[in-house]
């Protein structure tokens, strides 16, 4: 199989007729981990949500391809079937549906009828991944995200990522609200997926996650587009010097987008 490729060109996205992304370009290949950084309100999460097909966002212009699939021609589930995954910042709570029933249904949704994952295999995989993420067994029987702490929800997103093994994952602020131990566990999970068949886009506004997941590329977003790209050293520089030097470099005062 060819290496996965996510290619986003001149993307413009609005919410409630307010333009948030204003011509964003990015390309992620299998084997690569990209970090998109930037202060709050610069459009980072909009990028993640729009690519997955969040119902609140309108695509105004531009294109996004995963391999040869035009994402914006596809339903949300078709994008997932094509190999796209979004670890959400605020995953929904779904009462009455147990975590393990949900994950199993999701795994089977990506397989042909008659080729469902066997119960034994499913249990074995769940046990293995839950061990790695230091998740308590009771997690399986709790209702999906209902009453989960912030940290539990994030771990659950990573658990799904590991169980579903997508070709291309977007992690939307998966580090927010995590203590350092949880952060290490989440990083261990993501690092275990590293391969030529897996590309990853990490959205974060803290550098600290990148101490544990070393990105190949770092991008800085301001005013709804990527204003600077570099290697891991860019993240280091942001940690030391903040974002002001970039604002000066490109000559802006307010980095946010779509403010009232």
């Amino acid at each position: 199989m060819t290496k996965p490729n996510l290619s986003v060109k001149d993307l413009h996205v609005s919410i409630e007729e307010k333009e948030i992304l204003k011509g964003l370009n990015i390309e992620v290949n299998g084997g690569e981990i990209h970090a998109v950084m930037g202060p709050n309100g610069t459009g980072k999460s909009t990028l993640a949500s729009a690519l997955m097909g969040h119902p609140s966002f309108e695509i105004e212009k531009g294109e996004a391809y995963l391999d040869n699939n035009n994402l914006f021609d596809m339903e949300v589930d078709e994008r997932a079937q094509a190999g796209l995954f979004l670890a959400m910042q605020y995953p929904s709570e779904i009462s009455g549906v147990t975590n393990s029933d949900f994950i199993r249904s999701a795994m089977n949704a990506q397989r042909e009828e008659g080729d469902e994952v066997s119960l034994m295999k499913f249990i074995r995989q769940m046990d293995e991944k839950m061990d790695m993420l230091e998740i308590d067994q009771s997690f399986q029987h709790r209702y999906l995200n209902e009453g989960f702490s912030g940290g539990e929800k994030k771990r659950n997103e990573i658990l799904q990522l590991m169980m579903l093994q997508p070709r291309m994952a977007i992690l939307d602020e998966i580090d927010s609200g995590l203590d350092i131990d949880a952060l290490k566990v989440v990083a261990k999970g993501v690092n275990s997926l590293r391969s030529e068949d897996f590309g990853c886009l990490i959205i974060t506004h803290y550098q600290r996650l990148l101490n544990y997941i070393t990105p190949d590329y770092v991008h800085v977003m301001m005013q709804g587009r990527i204003v600077k790209s570099g290697g891991p050293e860019l993240a280091q520089k942001l940690e030391e010097h903040g974002y002001d030097w970039i604002k000066e470099e490109i000559g802006i005062e307010d980095e946010t987008v779509g403010k009232e």
């Binding site: 097909g53 339903e75 589930d77 997932a80 009455g96 549906v97 249904s105 949704a109």
Partner: protein, 435 residues
């Protein structure tokens, strides 16, 4: 000026029906006086549902059912509910009020547990039945339908659990209905002090649909420290008009009553569920779920009435509405003066799958005591698009995602049903009704 009401059975016929069943004289007299009352009493007036045109009085009186004894003679739909014969422990199956199969674990009998049909109980345990039957929880003279019920009762079950006896395996009852028969089923449960019981009942329709009436009453009496779980799945056909009245009299201190009612009838239905929390520290938990579809009109009312100090009542009502169905969901928490430190909470949620359906959620708190806590939450709405987005982002298509959300929404009752075969059956009922 009300029109003259007529019933399919007159006084003489009723008397001979009662005599044929060898019923005690007090019971026959009670039937006859109730029949008289039924003529003059008003119909019940469920809040926000007009039932004046519904048929509650025209039905067949011949059960046309032979008493059966063998497991093999049970219909497939009954077998689906009870599983395989070797797994059956405590079961009472009736069709049009006639017992067609019965099994009771010997261990229970030796402990003094009674689990039998109401006709047998009237003969073998007359005094026990007389002490409770339509005494406190439900009265014959409430309105025409309770009076008709008292007059015409023709099926049902009596369960008695002696003091300190804890029954682990659930007692199961299946009430099958067929044809135009008017089913007047009465379930009477008496749980003595510190006893424990789980009971699960199913109402099902068999054969092709004729217009019929089901007038169903259940009474549950709990003494001190008793714990009863009452599960039910009502699944009568479109042509059956149903009046269901399930009431619990939680008399004893610290007694606990749990209702898990799956209200899956396809016809017009009035369903009332009332829990009287009399005992100090008593607990009542009433969960109901329902699906409305087609043109059916339904009214679901859950009452919890607090008399006991420190009593705690919890109401949960979830309804799924599709097609052009109408349902009214009333939750009433009533706290009587003197019921200090009582706590009453309720939630009503209605999920609308069609914009032609109608669902009303009415949370009502009637509180006549200052020193209490109470709360309610109610909502009527469509499936949350963000939940759909989340599930679909994991590869499930729209239908599959909706299905998961709906099953989850109905899970509070489905998961609480103590019998695996019943859970499976209700899962399939939900699938059939929603898709």
């Amino acid at each position: 000026m009300t029109a003259e009401v007529t019933f399919p059975i007159n006084k003489q016929q009723l008397e001979s029906f009662s005599n044929d069943r060898h019923e005690p004289k007090w019971f026959t007299d009670f039937r006859l006086s109730s029949l008289e009352q039924a003529v003059n009493l008003e119909m019940p007036k469920p809040d926000k549902t007009n039932i004046s045109k519904w048929n509650f009085t025209s039905f067949g009186i011949n059960a046309n059912t032979a008493a059966g004894t063998s497991f093999d003679s049970l219909s497939d739909s009954v077998k689906t509910l009870v599983g395989e014969e070797k797994d059956v422990q405590n079961l009472l199956a009736q069709k049009n009020g006639q017992t067609i199969y019965q099994a009771v674990n010997e261990d229970l009998t030796s402990k003094g547990v009674i689990f039998t049909d109401i006709a047998t109980a009237l003969n073998d345990h007359e005094e026990l039945v007389k002490k409770f039957y339509m005494q406190d929880a439900v009265s014959a003279n409430e309105h025409r339908l309770t009076a008709l019920h008292a007059a015409l009762v023709n099926g049902g079950t009596f369960i008695y659990v002696p003091k300190d006896v804890e029954i682990e395996a659930p007692l199961q009852a299946v009430y099958a209905h067929e044809g135009d028969f008017g089913l007047f089923n009465h379930v009477l449960i008496v749980a003595e002090a510190n006893s424990k019981l789980t009971y699960v009942e199913n109402y099902i329709s068999e054969g092709s649909g004729s217009e019929a009436v089901a007038n169903l009453v259940a009474e549950v009496y709990l003494d001190e420290g008793a714990k009863v779980s009452f599960g039910a799945v009502d699944n009568l056909a479109e042509t059956v008009t149903t009046y269901t009245n399930r009431r619990g009299q939680v008399n004893g201190r610290d007694a606990q009553l749990y209702w898990s009612l799956g209200q899956m009838n396809d016809g017009n239905t009035v369903s009332e569920n009332t829990t009287y929390l009399m005992g100090e520290g008593s607990y009542g938990d009433a969960k109901t779920v329902s699906i409305g579809r087609g043109q059916q009109s339904q009214n679901f009312t859950t009452n919890i009435v607090h008399y006991g100090k420190n009593s705690d009542g919890q109401i949960l009502k979830h309804g799924v509405m599709k097609d052009r169905a109408t349902s009214i969901f009333n939750g009433v928490t009533k706290i009587i003066n003197g019921a200090t430190k009582a706590n009453g909470e309720q939630t009503e949620r209605v999920l609308m799958l069609s914009d032609k359906a109608r669902g009303d959620a009415n949370p009502i708190l009637l509180i006549d005591e200052d020193d209490v806590t109470a709360g309610h939450a109610a909502s009527v709405g469509n499936i949350d698009p963000l939940q759909m987005f989340y599930l679909m982002s994991r590869g499930m298509n729209r239908t599959e995602a909706e299905r998961l959300i709906i099953h989850g929404f109905l899970a509070p009752v489905v998961d609480a049903l103590a019998i695996e075969t019943v859970k499976n059956q209700v899962f399939h009922v939900i699938e059939r009704k929603v898709y």
